[in-house]
């Protein structure tokens, strides 16, 4: 069992594996990765329970589909549990293969292009990461005289930094490796302007796979940031306000895009971009409160976005190919779905008592402390987030029913999945300490040291 009182890695597997580069097959969980592991497992369960009703396909195809999803789960769990650079990289890349086939084989009309685009973007990001890993392993062996790719060892590597000028900062060892890491993780998360793959992927992938991609895969990027940023204290200190600013703009940009969206899936995709920007803002703010909030928000966003895409799936199945305006009056026809959707929507706009509030509050408080103006800019996102979410809810659920005929409410398995979502919405919202205590047990969740 995982013991929240202990610091450091638990439940470890540590076997020799690839000693030529100092890599060991080393897995283990600490407070941050156990929360991510829970997210992966819950989301997979949600898909198998909740997405069945709108994912109809012949048995032969369904076998492939389920198999690919399970592979995806394996890859994601591996990446979150990895304690070795090479293992992390392997799982990180491994995830691409099942996602590629899930989008390419089961997606919408433009699926091939979406799959290729997704693959290219993330694979390119990975190249930078591989470069940074190689550099770190090399530096470690030079500084300490033995080969190791273990997180714990590599964390001791000292990288030179110069902040005499911007040129010097970027050109310094730490600056270069830092930028390489940032590129890899920010493309995956994504942060504007690296979000080019997001919309197409989320729209074209089958909804069941979108749930996983949006809820889990993006988190690998933010997880990587939290895991590795501690190695670049100077570069981080030097640039974090800029990245906070970009994240704040991302929050507002995503919200405005969502406001102008024409379809349900598009709106949820943009809302995801906006919410992921909150997570990034928390990471770049750097204090203990903000980082803990960011980890918590990674979990929250995963649960909420999974819930939202499930709801989108249920709506699509009842009224396929609709724009938002074609819906309406669902609250009368599907009252149970309306209630669950309400809870998820409120979580998503961060109402106190739901999970979204705790994460957002910690993140924004941390950002406010780190840089008051940027924090204030990001805080205005609370208004715009409420605007697009409320209009979305009202256009679909309220108003006069836009079409006649029978519409069945959600079935028992859907109900079970949404109940699970709402359970976490309230557990985190009403008793966040149950999660925070685990996150805090991690070795160090503080990136910016107090002056």
């Amino acid at each position: 069992m995982f013991d929240p009182e202990l610091k450091g890695l638990q439940l470890q597997v540590d076997q020799p594996w690839f000693s030529e580069v100092g890599s060991r097959f080393h897995l283990g969980f600490d407070g941050i990765s156990i929360v991510m592991g829970l997210l992966v497992s819950v989301v997979t369960l949600l898909i198998f329970v909740g997405a069945r009703s709108f994912t109809c396909m012949p048995v032969a195809k369904e076998k492939n589909f389920v198999g690919l999803l399970l592979l995806l789960q394996t890859g994601a769990l591996g990446a979150f549990a990895a304690a070795d650079l090479l293992i992390f990289f392997m799982f990180w890349e491994f995830v691409l293969i099942p996602s590629y086939f899930l989008i390419g084989m089961f997606g919408g009309s433009d699926r091939i292009r979406a799959a290729v685009r997704f693959f290219i973007y993330t694979a390119l990001g990975s190249l930078f990461m591989l470069f940074a890993f190689a550099w770190l392993i090399g530096e470690h062996s030079r500084q300490f005289g033995f080969l190791s790719a273990s997180f714990a060892d590599v964390a001791h590597v000292k990288l030179a930094f110069a902040n005499s000028s911007l040129m010097a900062a970027v050109g310094s060892q730490q600056g270069l490796v830092f930028l390489a890491f940032m590129l890899a993780f920010l493309v995956k998360s994504p942060l504007i302007p690296f979000h080019g793959w997001l919309l197409k992927t989320y729209q074209e992938a089958p909804t069941a796979a979108t749930v996983f991609i949006a809820a889990v895969l993006g988190k690998m990027g933010t997880y990587g940031l939290i895991r590795f940023m501690g190695m670049f204290p100077d570069a981080f200190q030097y640039s974090h306000v800029l990245f906070m600013l970009i994240s704040s703009i991302g929050i507002l940009f995503g919200a405005f895009q969502a406001l102008g969206s024409k379809s349900v899936k598009e709106l949820i995709s943009w809302s995801s971009l906006s919410h992921v920007s909150y997570i990034l803002l928390g990471i770049f703010s750097g204090g203990e409160e903000a980082i803990s909030g960011a980890v918590l928000q990674m979990f929250n966003h995963g649960i909420l976005i999974a819930g939202l895409f499930l709801v989108a799936g249920y709506l699509d199945a009842r009224r396929p190919e609709g724009t938002i305006l074609d819906f309406g009056g669902f609250a009368k026809k599907t009252p149970i779905l309306a209630i669950f959707f309400m809870v998820i929507m409120l979580g998503s706009i961060g109402l106190p008592g739901t999970n979204g509030f705790v994460g957002e509050f910690l993140i924004l408080a941390g950002a406010f402390k780190s840089h008051m103006l940027v924090g204030a800019l990001a805080t205005t996102g609370m208004v715009f987030g409420a605007i697009y979410m409320l209009s979305f809810y009202q256009k679909t659920m309220f108003g006069k029913p836009s079409f006649h005929g029978e519409t069945k409410d959600i079935g028992a398995s859907d109900l079970l999945a949404l109940t699970l979502v709402c359970w976490f919405v309230f557990q985190v919202g009403l008793y966040p300490q149950s999660f925070i205590a685990r996150i805090k047990s991690s070795s160090d969740v503080q990136l910016v040291k107090e002056p």
């Binding site: 292009r113 290729v116 685009r117 290219i120 390119l124 911007l166 970027v170 930028l179 590129l183 493309v187 690296f194 080019g196 793959w197 640039s239 800029l242 940009f253 405005f256 895009q257 406001l259 102008g260 969206s261 204090g287 203990e288 409160e289 803990s292 609250a331 009252p335 409120l346 109402l351 106190p352 008592g353 705790v358 509050f361 910690l362 924004l364 408080a365 406010f368 402390k369 924090g375 204030a376 805080t379 205005t380 609370m382 208004v383 409420a386 605007i387 697009y388 409320l390 209009s391 009202q394 659920m397 309220f398 108003g399 006069k400 009403l430 008793y431 966040p432 300490q433 925070i436 805090k440």
Partner: protein, 632 residues
């Protein structure tokens, strides 16, 4: 003396249980059927809030003996300096609020059982009402600003849900959304205020901060107070964020009475009084509050002159009366503000419920131009509303007379006050007299101007009216001005003022220069009677105010102004950003594709067009990113 008990927790738990029964358990027991028996839903909800009132009376007994009741429920969050526990405090101020909320709340719950008798699925309605009471009680009982914010947002949510209760009407949904979003604008400021306090004091506990403010940097306090006050202008519908309240009248009338008159909208006043220890150290902000209050008094009063929807008149009247409360807190008269909060809760709830009874009798008609002569058809509603109207106008010896008079007196005589605030308040009182007379005249006098056959409401609706009418009549004696009592030789103690004094130390009696206390009272009385007379003369024949009809009917075009300056630009920005994004991405992709095609024609075989464009965009972004890094 502090003593620990679970009583405050029960005050919160009871309405929550009522909510869960109506929202979850009954529908489940009825097999997923939403139509829970009407009586069961109503009685459950009324019983749960009624027992809060009884428990509140029990607690009052404890408090009289000088205790403060404290509950430490659980540690909600503990990370870094950020430690928040659910601590509830029942002290002299919160018990007053608890009794107002649960007392008026119980009456309105009972009334609703009659008012909602023709509606389907009232389980949802009563569930929301209970959830509202839970949130409101959380707001007044919490010792921690974060949990106060829980209640703050919770009442906003319930307001949203109840305004949009009839959600198949587009207009109701729009009003609900407007209310939520305007409130959110205030809430953003509120949250930023919390951030400042959190980082400065390392705590959000009110009792913790009270011990630290004396040594604090006044500029930090000022900033925090300003932001919290901006939050309060949203919730309490003050200038410039008052625009949501009139639209909120789209909800069922009992909701308007409970949420949009008696309780929720007073949350901003409560917040400032509760945090008086901090606001008192920021005299500039207090001065601003008094001025904003004064502007709101006049704004609400003017617009109410020319509204024809009976509920809209009352809505603008509420805005105006809330303005009086803000004037009171602004000049430092916290106890007086709470006094007016209480009397206003009684008479405004009465007026709204009375108007509900009228609307009920008129088959849903809200336009006063189609009413008239109802005093004969609805004698009980008429009689009780007359008391309410008298109290609102401030006719002598009714409750509003004492509380409004006390505010006017404080606005002039306290060091934080100013003569022009007194003049403004007096003018506001004059307007109150005029529009109230108009309302009563158009509704109850003359002849009926429609073909409906009105009928008096049932006892379940008129009994709460009678109780509220009695309270509206006598509540003034809860805090009878002692100075006046001495002059007149009637020594009635100012109970409420004495009750609150240990908690809110501020001295609230000043010297009234040229008139003296009796003179000031006489002037205020004269102004109320003048308003009544002007109203009677002006509206003897017509229902239109003679000056600036268009401007008043258009509500000074504030909504249109906000629409043109804020709302539409934001909505357009959403659309425009999408379009711009599409355009830029398309052009960049095409341009780079052309570039790539011309420079690498030998690779044409594997080009998939868009894909290559994407790569180039990615690389371009990298370059841009590094460029930003350099420039910065």
């Amino acid at each position: 003396m502090e003593h620990t008990s679970y009583l405050p927790l029960w005050l919160l738990a009871l309405p929550l249980i009522g909510f869960l029964l109506n929202a979850v358990l009954y529908p489940l027991a009825a097999g997923g059927n939403q139509n829970v028996p009407r009586a069961l839903a109503g009685i459950t909800a009324s019983a749960s809030i009624g027992s809060v009132f009884i428990l509140g009376l029990v607690a009052l007994g404890d408090l009289i003996q000088g205790d403060v009741i404290v509950t430490k429920a659980y540690e909600w969050l503990n990370v870094g300096v950020f430690k928040v526990s659910l601590d509830l405090v029942l002290d002299r101020l919160s018990i007053v609020m608890v009794l107002i909320i649960s007392g008026v709340g119980s009456l309105i719950h009972v009334y609703s059982m009659g008012y909602m008798e023709h509606e389907e699925g009232v389980g949802r309605f009563f569930a929301y009402l209970n959830l509202f009471c839970f949130s409101m009680l959380m707001l007044v009982l919490s010792d921690n600003l974060l949990f106060l914010f829980f209640g703050w947002e919770g009442v906003g949510l319930c307001s949203f849900l109840l305004i949009g209760y009839w959600y198949d009407q587009e207009a109701n949904c729009a009003a609900a959304q407007k209310a939520f979003i305007v409130n959110r604008v205030g809430d953003v400021c509120f949250v930023m205020g919390l951030f400042i306090l959190l980082w400065y004091f390392s705590t959000l506990s009110l009792s913790g901060m009270a011990g630290l403010v004396a040594a604090a940097n006044p500029q930090v306090l000022q900033m925090a107070c300003l932001l919290l006050f901006l939050g309060a202008t949203g919730k309490s519908a003050q200038f410039p964020l008052f625009v949501w309240l009139p639209d909120a009248m789209a909800g069922p009338t009992p909701v308007s009475a409970l949420i949009h008159a008696a309780t929720m909208v007073t949350a901003g006043v409560y917040l400032i009084v509760r945090m008086g220890f901090m606001f008192s150290l920021s005299p500039d902000i207090l001065f601003m509050i008094a001025n904003v209050g004064c502007i709101t008094v006049l704004l609400g009063g003017f617009i109410a002159l020319q509204q024809n929807d009976i509920k809209k008149v009352l809505a603008y009247s509420t805005i105006s009366q809330l303005g009086f409360m803000f004037v009171a807190v602004g000049v430092g008269a916290y106890k007086t503000a709470i006094f007016h909060l209480m009397t206003h809760a009684f008479f405004k709830a009465l007026l709204f419920l009375g108007s509900g009874s009228v609307i009920h009798a008129m088959d849903g008609e809200q336009d006063m131009r189609k009413m008239g002569g109802l005093r004969l058809k609805l004698p009980k509603t008429y009689a009780t509303m007359m008391v309410g109207a008298g109290a609102l106008m401030g006719l002598p010896l009714l409750s509003g007379f004492f509380s409004k008079d006390a505010i006017l007196f404080a606005a002039h005589s306290l060091p934080g006050g100013a003569t022009y605030l007194w003049w403004g308040g007096l003018f506001g009182a004059l307007l109150t007299g005029i529009y109230t007379t108009r309302l009563m005249k158009m509704t109850f006098f003359g002849t009926l101007r429609s073909s409906v056959v009105p009928h008096e409401s049932k006892a379940i609706m008129t009994t709460p009216l009678v109780i509220l009418a009695v309270l509206s009549a006598v509540a003034g004696f809860f805090s009878f001005p002692e100075g006046l009592g001495e002059i007149l030789g009637v020594p009635i103690p100012a109970y409420l003022e004495h009750w609150l004094s240990p908690l809110l130390q501020a001295k609230e009696i000043g010297e009234f220069g040229f008139l003296g206390e009796l003179g000031a009272t006489l002037v205020a009385t004269g102004v109320s009677l003048l308003g009544l007379t002007i109203g009677l003369v002006l509206f003897a024949k017509s229902s239109d105010f003679p000056i600036g009809k268009k401007l008043l009917e258009g509500k000074f075009y504030v909504d249109e102004l906000y629409g043109a300056l804020i709302v539409r630009p934001i909505l357009r920005m959403g659309g425009a950003l999408s379009a711009l994004f599409e355009f830029v991405v398309q052009r960049v992709a095409e341009g780079l594709k052309l570039l790539a095609q011309s420079t690498a024609s030998e690779l044409r075989g594997i080009q998939t067009g868009d894909m290559q464009g994407s790569i180039v965009i990615l690389v371009g972004a990298v370059v841009l990113f590094i460029a930003i890094f350099f420039i910065w």
